[in-house]
């Protein structure tokens, strides 16, 4: 009895394409200039562009390296171009900004439990910073040769 009613209801229901229009407040394209938290969000997202720029420079360096000492010297000279230096300084700021904001939200991405209790947020953030320092030291050890 019940199932037949359900079937009947389904048959009688009619869907219409003309549903009521949702109310949507108009948001300006420049909404992210309306306050520091918004601007910070966009700057954080834009850090990805500088991550990509880093990859471009890295690939150019690998290419120069494979082409011989002269090409590599020319590449090093190109890195001394004031415009490139300025761009790389801005990139440095953004990649550090990316790292700091990334580590600070790490506790929200990984909820680690130890003996049934959740590891406190500052511990996870701290562990990330310790790992950052350790990895940076390894890279320095590989590249800095006096």
């Amino acid at each position: 009895m019940k199932t037949r009613e359900a079937r009947d209801t389904r048959q009688t229901v009619r869907y219409t394409e003309y549903h009521p229009r949702w109310y949507r407040a108009h948001v300006s394209t420049w909404w992210w200039l309306a306050g520091w938290p918004y601007l910070k969000f966009i700057l954080r997202e834009m850090s990805s562009v500088f991550v990509a720029w880093f990859v471009v420079v890295l690939l150019l360096q690998i290419r120069a390296l494979s082409r011989g000492p002269e090409a590599y010297a020319a590449f090093e000279l190109w890195l001394q171009n004031p415009l490139i230096v300025l761009l790389n300084l801005i990139t440095q700021f953004f990649v550090i900004f990316h790292a700091v904001t990334w580590f600070n939200v790490a506790p929200r991405a990984m909820a680690i439990r130890f003996r049934g209790k959740r590891v406190p947020d500052p511990w996870i953030v701290g562990a990330n910073y310790v790992a950052w320092a350790a990895i940076s030291l390894v890279v320095v050890w590989f590249l800095v040769r006096s």
Binding site: V27, T29, W32, I42, E45, M46, S47, S48, V49, V51, A52, F54, V55, V56, V57, L58, L59, Q61, I62, R63, L65, S66, P69, Y72, A73, E76, L77, L79, Q80, V85, N88, L89, T91, Q92, V95, I96, H98, A99, W102, F103, A109, A131, W132, I135, S136, V139, V140, F142, L143, V144, R145, S146
Partner: protein, 117 residues
């Protein structure tokens, strides 16, 4: 059957790239693009850098770094364009440009590193 979304895969690449970028890019950029060429720290010799990149492990590392960092950029930049500039009507074009760009860069990195002598 529901169409499977490729969004989770793209998100995982974004996330893995974010972790890798956060850990290694600041120090690598500082040394290779600023400190060495500007003479703040004595730069390693050409022969040393060549020998380092010739190691298969270094090349594998560099390839993974390029691959993940580029897909991190693609995903984040795509959503910045969606949210920031609200250009959702160019959805497909942005999608193709972002992931296509990342794909192109990854192939280029693979080519350069595979043929590195």
């Amino acid at each position: 059957m529901a169409k499977q979304s490729n969004e989770p895969v793209l998100w995982v690449l974004f996330s893995a790239g974010g972790v890798m970028a956060a850990f290694v890019i600041p120090v690598q950029l500082f040394l290779l693009s600023l400190a060495f060429p500007l003479g703040w720290i004595p730069a390693p010799r050409y022969e040393y850098m060549l020998a380092l990149v010739r190691l298969p492990l270094t090349r594998l590392y560099l390839f993974v770094l390029c691959f993940l960092a580029l897909f991190h950029w693609a995903h984040r930049f795509r959503y910045t364009l969606y949210d920031g500039l609200q250009i959702k009507h160019l959805n497909e074009l942005i999608f193709v440009c972002c992931y296509g760009g990342a794909m192109f860069g990854t192939v280029l990195a693979g080519y350069l590193l595979w043929n590195f002598r």
